[in-house]
Structures are given as C-alpha cells and as structure tokens.
C-alpha cells in the first residue's frame, strides 16, 4: 500500500483528541468541560474499538489483505484513547484521590466495569508487537488477544450504565458490537479462513 498511508491514518485518528484538547483550552466544551472530555474520549475509545474489530470482516469481504497491517495501529489507538479517558477521570475529575477512586471502583459497578475494560486492553497493547507473537507463539497470542471481544462488551456496558436515562446511543453501540462479534461466531463455523488469491489487476506499490 502507499507508504505514507499509515502515518496519515494516525494523524487523522488523533484529530478527535486534538479537537477536544483545543476545545477544552478555549472553553468550548460547555459548562462542564471535565465531564464532556470524559464523554468524548470514552466515545472515541469505543469507536476505535469498533473500527479495529471491523478490519477482519472487511478484509474477508473485500479480499484486501493489506487491511491487516492497520489492525495493530488501530488497536493501539483504541488503547491510547482509553488511557486518556482514564487519565482524565483519575487525574482531573478525581485529582488522584486514591481512596475516593477505590471507593468508586468497589462500590459502583459502572466504574468497576470501566476499569475492567482498561485492564483487559492493557495486556493487548503491551503484547501487540511481532516480538510478542514470537515469544508467546501464534496460538497463545491469538488466544490472549481474543480478550478484545470481552473488552468490547464490558466497554459498552460501562457506557450503558453511565448514562442517566437515555440509553439510545449505548444500545446502538451494543448492536454494532453484537454484529461484529456475531460475524466471528458465524465465521468460526465455516471453513477456516484462507488468504484469497491475489487479484492480478491490483497494481500495488509497497
């Protein structure tokens, strides 16, 4: 694929964060900017998670194997947004009040499930390199990285339990993840995935 496409995707992926940071600095996030930043970074975490989970089905549907090269980067972007989201909560909202935060994790299930999501994503980010695939062996690595499916569920439940009453958008995300995960369930029953033959018409510069 085109050499500069990867860096370009990263740049575009960071635009939401740049916008939130700019809006925060210029007091354009409304009357409760801390809460709004938590909401926006949380939503982008879920969105990048959905995009990451769309790579394999898209690759299957289109035969574009080069898509797989972007999956790790998108996964790491997901974790990056999750880290910003958690940092806002811990560092700005709660200002590192560890006792109060622990109380939140233990007593309030939507925080517990949010923290669980982060804890599930962290090892995936840490073992995302080729070195780790070799160290763990392909099978074990693949098994570990199936935790992303659990993270997608816990992340959406965190969102669902965080809203006061209007569950419309959390349920939309739930439906999207149900489709992305459901696809894999169906696919697992079919023949094992095989790399489709290279299309001769595709003139691809590395």
């Amino acid at each position: 694929m085109i050499r500069w496409l990867k860096p370009l995707v990263v740049v575009f992926a960071l635009v939401p964060l740049a916008w939130v940071a700019w809006a925060f600095a210029h007091d354009r996030l409304g009357a409760n900017p801390i809460r709004e930043t938590e909401i926006q970074t949380g939503l982008w975490t879920l969105r990048f998670l959905a995009i990451t989970l769309s790579i394999s089905p898209a690759r299957r549907a289109t035969g574009w194997n080069w898509l797989i090269k972007y999956r790790r980067m998108l996964g790491l972007l997901t974790f990056f947004y999750a880290t910003v989201h958690l940092s806002m909560w811990a560092g700005v909202d709660w200002f590192f009040a560890w006792g109060d935060m622990w109380h939140e994790v233990v007593k309030h299930k939507y925080i517990l499930v949010g923290m669980t999501t982060f804890v599930l994503l962290a090892p995936l980010a840490l073992t995302s390199t080729k070195g780790w695939v070799r160290r763990l062996g392909g099978k074990r690595w693949a098994a570990l990285h199936r935790l992303i499916y659990v993270a997608a569920i816990t992340g959406t439940v965190h969102y669902l339990w965080a809203v006061k009453k209007d569950t419309f958008f959390p349920l939309v995300y739930l439906a999207v993840f149900a489709l992305l995960l459901g696809y894999r369930v169906i696919d697992a029953r079919r023949k094992p995935f095989r790399v489709p033959p290279r299309r001769s018409s595709a003139s691809v510069a590395a």
Binding site: G30, A31, F95, E104, K107, H108, K165
Partner: protein, 318 residues
C-alpha cells in the same frame, strides 16, 4: 434566615459589574420589571472579593458554610440544563426551547383547597412580592450551581388557596405539549412530568416558585414561565413549566421515581451519606470549579429543613 430586602443593603454590597453579563441591560430590565421585583439592582451578596474576579455570595437562608460560594454565570445557568421535554443533552433545552410559548399561561389549582380555580399567571403572581433568592442547586448527577432566582415563596401562594386540613401533599404537573416540546415525543420519561412535596416541605420558607433569574424573566430552558425550587433537594424536584397544582391526601408518584424507583425516590433530599446506586453523592462538581467539592447534608440548608425529617430513615426514604 436572612432574606435581604433593599433597605438593609449598603451600597458597598451592591453586586459588582463582573457578576452580571451586562450591567446596563440588567438595570434596564430591572427598571421595567420594577413593579414585580423587590428591588432593582439590589442583591444580597457578601462584600468579600477574592482573587477570583467573581465575588463570593451569601446563600439565601443557607448555613454559614466554610466554603465559598460564587454565582454561576448567566451563560452557564442557561446552557447546561436537564429538561428532557426539550431533549436529553445538556445544550438541547437552550437550543430547542427558543420558540416555546409561555404566554398566555394558566395554572390550574385544584384538589383539597377552598379556593381552587384556573389562574392566569399574571393573576397568580400579582398579589405577592417577588423576592430575590440566591440558592445552590444540586443535581442528582453530582454537579451543582449557585443561581440568583427571583420568585414567590410557595408558602405565601398556598395560604391564598386555603388548603383543607386533609391536604397532606401538593402535586405539581408540567405542560404536556409534544408539538412544542420535542422530547415528549419519545417515552424517555412517562409524560407529563409530575412532582410533589409534603405540606410542611411546600410551606417551608425556602421553597420558591421562581419566575425570574438574574433580574430577568425566567428563560425558557430554565422552566419558564414558572417553576419550583426546593434547594435542599436534588434538582429534579424542581419541576418546570408548571400548569397544575393539586392538593392531595396521598403521596404523589413523582416522575423520576416512576421511571426508576431503585434510583430516584420521593424525598430526594441532598444526602452525602446515601449514594445513588450507580455513583457517589458524597462529592460534587460545582460548575466552573476545577476541584470537586464535598456535598453538604441537605445541600447546606440543614438548619432550615432537618427538623422536618427527624426520626426518618433517610436511607429508606431517599
């Protein structure tokens, strides 16, 4: 309890310019509304100015709190609203309520009273002196603001209707008008919005029927033309756009309790020791401030209201 009237206030205590968006406009509006307002341009406020350019204010009727309370800006108060009749995002009411018709407006008073009737809003408020009240408003979502309301003590209004001894509760209802209130087209809450107070809560000196804000008529997104303010309770008790007041002998089922009885009750007293099932109530975000604040029992009005709940289990009656 200190409700400051114009004569008591030294010129040094007149609210400085920085506390209002536009002082000239305020004075002009106040001049026009002079017939209804207790004192144009006179607000009860502490003289102390801190490094923050906003002065601290004295909360009307509140405990002498050790923490400093500052007025929130008109912008904050009118663009961050929970008013699901106009949408569920915080900016929705200010965006969607611009053409809401608040005139003519009728409030039906019925039930166990000697003087029921359909009162035009002007007739409802005319006999009373509009007062200035600076109150904390604490939302159940754990954010809060300090707001300069103008309104009529509900106690005075109730006296006029002459409730019967059998009347134990007052029930309020909001307008049902999906053509004007887009949020009512979805069953996000069981419309119309209903709230209620026990008679002693309704006649407490703090309870206010608000008709104005920052010296101006209530903006639509804040509950125009008339709404309830019960400062020691969570904000959802402050029902907006009231069209009916019924005096009843049974505790009303308020809307948020119907919507989610495990999370929202009838009393809804601000209580840092009783968490919401999903989040803590021990602290809050004061809009405009960077650090969280500890939440005060009864929102800092314990001296005026705690006696009404003596002996009650507030964990059960949340």
């Amino acid at each position: 309890m200190l409700i400051r009237k114009p004569d008591d206030i030294a010129s040094s205590e007149i609210t400085p310019e920085s506390a209002y968006m536009d002082r000239r406009r305020f004075i002009a509006t106040a001049g026009m509304a002079a017939a209804g307002l207790a004192g144009a341009g006179a607000l009860s406020s502490a003289a102390a100015c801190t490094r923050d350019d906003r002065p601290t204010v004295k909360i009307s009727g509140g405990d002498v709190a050790t923490q400093q309370d500052k007025l929130n800006t008109f912008e904050q108060i009118t663009t961050y609203n929970n008013y699901y009749e106009f949408g569920t995002d915080k900016e929705d009411p200010s965006e969607n309520a611009t053409r809401f018709r608040t005139h003519p407006w009728t409030v039906k008073v019925d039930g166990l009273v000697k003087k029921p009737g359909d009162y035009a809003l002007e007739d409802l408020v005319k006999p009373f002196k509009v007062e200035e009240r600076i109150y904390r408003l604490r939302c159940v979502e754990a954010w809060s603001m300090v707001i300069p309301w103008q309104g009529i003590p509900l106690k005075d209004m109730i006296t006029r209707f002459e409730p019967l001894p059998s009347a134990k509760f007052v029930q309020f209802t909001t307008l049902l008008a999906p053509d004007q209130m887009p949020g009512q087209r979805r069953p996000i809450l069981p419309w119309p919005y209903v709230e209620g107070l026990r008679m002693d809560e309704a006649t407490n000196p703090l309870t206010l029927m608000a008709t104005g804000l920052y010296g101006r008529p209530l903006p639509n997104q804040n509950g125009a033309p008339i709404r309830l303010i019960v400062p020691w309770k969570y904000g959802f008790k402050g029902i907006k756009a009231i069209v009916r007041m019924s005096f009843v002998d049974r505790q009303p089922m308020n809307t948020w309790q119907i919507a989610n009885p495990d999370e929202y009750g009838f009393y809804a007293n601000v209580n840092p020791t009783v968490d919401h099932p999903r989040w803590t109530q021990a602290s809050e975000r004061r809009i405009g401030e960077f650090r969280r604040r500890p939440t005060l029992m009864f929102n800092g009005y314990a001296e005026q209201v705690a006696h009404m709940y003596a002996g009650m289990d507030l964990r059960k009656n949340f």
